[in-house]
Amino acid sequence: MMGIEDAGSSSGAGATHDEERPPPLPPRPSLQPTPKDRASLQSKPTTALSSMTIQTLSFPDGSRGTFSTTVDDSAADDRTSPTEGHDVSALGFHPIGSARKQDTDESMSIMSMAPTMRPPGDLESLLVGDMTKRSPAWMLLQSQSASIQPFEVIRPDHSSTFAEFEREFADIPDESNRDWNDGDRLQLWKSKLKHYMILSSAGKPIYSRHGDLGLINSSMGVVQTIISFYEGAKSPLLGFTAGDTRFVIATEGPLYFVAISKLGESDSQLRAQLNALYMQILSTLTLPGLTNIFANRPSTDLRRPLQGTETLLSSLADSFTKGSPSVLLGALECLRLRKSHRHSINNAFLKARAESLLYGLIVAGGKLVSVIRPRRHSLHPSDLQLIFNMLFESGGIKAAGGENWIPLCLPAFNNRGYLYMYVSFLDGRPDGSASTTDASDADDAIAIILISPDKESFFTLQKMRDDVVTELKKKGHLDLIKATAVQGRPLVTEIAPSAHISHFLFKSRANVQFCMPSLQPTFSSLISHRRLMSLYSHLHASMHARHSHLKVLHCISDEATSLAWITPIFEFYCVAGPNTSRAVITQGANKIMQWAKREEERLFIIGGGVF
């Protein structure tokens, strides 16, 4: 899908065939790794990987970026002013180039064969050869068409899949609606692009994202029959494909989880989604709780013990279906704040700490502002995902309009017991008292989350909340947080002006956090957002495919150009219009890397407050 070349062709260079299709390019010298190269790559992949690891470890902090590559004229011509080009080299930050340089097995072969006299310095110089061979007419054409946004041109076979997406989240009318017969309702159910089902191994339906269980009971029966057939044969079924639909099955103790997707996600991505649903169930029941229920009565209907959490499962499922960068990357997003502000907020938070506190979080608009935690424990992203889903995606807590006291299990922390979570949404207004907000659905709501193992500590934590809020107000931090949250993410053009990149994801692997620019204006609609996320998820799947060992992947399709780039320090994915050349997208990527490096301590919480 998406016209992205098969990741299996490795080294990212495989995608170059397809590049700039409209006017035929002059024949390119062989950019494919020769069979010999492939052979050597396969013979010692571990060596290649480890040398890569050592070499690239240092450059995102800039220390190793001192390459003496000059910015060559044609690269500068390429819609970058010479001064900007100078900045790049002055900062000595040519990460892609440096990655390439070290990655001899995979890409030196490409560069050394490019018919250019220039030293094989970086990825940009690789493109110089191409650029000089292009006719002025081609250059002109490309400079015009570079302004085409990703997905502005859409391939017909894709438009049909995504046309349905508008209706993906519409409810299927239930039996009481007399305008609908069962056949029509079933048809509507089948038209959904994504399904999640949970059933017990005894075949009792537990949850389905779409359709009431009465409607789809027989489908559940079929699913159970198929799965248990393979279970019986001691060869569990992991997944299968029917037409353009992928089925992935996960078995967790007494539960079967099934994901059915027409959205082109990879098996491992779907499996991660199913695992998140399982974690949500554990968060409600704990593992011993779940095990006991089925140990005592294998035919238990789990819907009853889970009653009231269906909306949590559905909001998780929908965030997967809509496409969530946080879920894709398994990372969290933080509110961008000055280091000194964050430090001061952390200190205020630590100062007010109650004795019984385990974790304390301040979250604004779904982005982490501050974390305090014991030295021995860190918070696992999958646990935070469950908390964020509960507080920000499903409406239950915010609508309650008060303070909340929620028993929950954080499975990655300890799946055997409950913790107690105090939640208070603040109105954040400077004049307001410490009162809680209206049940507004504002995305910029500020929440204080205090987690304790002591179920009797509500009032202690409430006092802590009051103290924290008083302190934050006194120093004006609450207004600052509010203002920053309202402001939202910066536009790409603010981050890297004239970079010709429409969107990117940057994940700091060490901090398990990511940042991204605003989805405005290109990806604000539900469908364009899903297209973007599909592209990201495809890049992600290609980069993380087992045995692929990719570091850089450049993909071109009729719809968009994209670049993925992974080092031990970060993962970076970006998307540009379909006619953006590799030189341009690479330059854009480098600019964003510089920004991310410069802003690192603002974008990410490094360590957090520890007690």
Partner: protein, 222 residues
Amino acid sequence: MASRAGPAAGRGMNTRFAQFKLVLLGESAVGKSSIVLRFVKDQFDSYRESTIGAAFLTQTISLDENTTVKFEIWDTAGQERYKSLAPMYYRNANCAVVVYDITQSSSLDKAKAWVKELQRQANENIIIALAGNKLDLVSEQPDKRAVPTAEAEAYANEAGLLFFETSAKTAENVQELFTAIAKKLPLDQVGPRHTRPGQRPGGVNLGPAEGRDTQAGGPCSC
């Protein structure tokens, strides 16, 4: 859960201020949270999601010109799995609202079970109100009613409960319910006699009414 004492009342400048703990109990989906939301914010949301755990809200009402009553409300989730946590919420409560859905007869049985538990386990002087919610559904379609008013009222009288049929949607009887509870609460005589031996006594605060809200700890802070 226990650092705040029970009722606190004060007199000064001819004004009376009292603070009481109230807990809502009842089967899931009978409308406990909707009643609270109507009472506290005068709002209603037909597509409300289930409460998770419990929500804590406060609302202050004036009984007359110089009597102010502040309710600290625990709105509990009705699901079975939260049942073991309920004592934590009703243990020090001065009053309770037990809610059922007048279109679901089973919800009254559940309500009766809660009343029984409260009368056995909670404060001996706890004031309990029985609220039959979703009156609006019955006004529209009388055949939806599953619990006759007379039956519930007879039970309430027998068990010594306040009784109202309410609609969180139309606000009918919601304010009345809480006002009736406030009137029945012992505004003038707050003190140890409202708590059982072994439980902390409620504090009497004689300061002026202003700023009382912030004195969260009251006289005891154990």
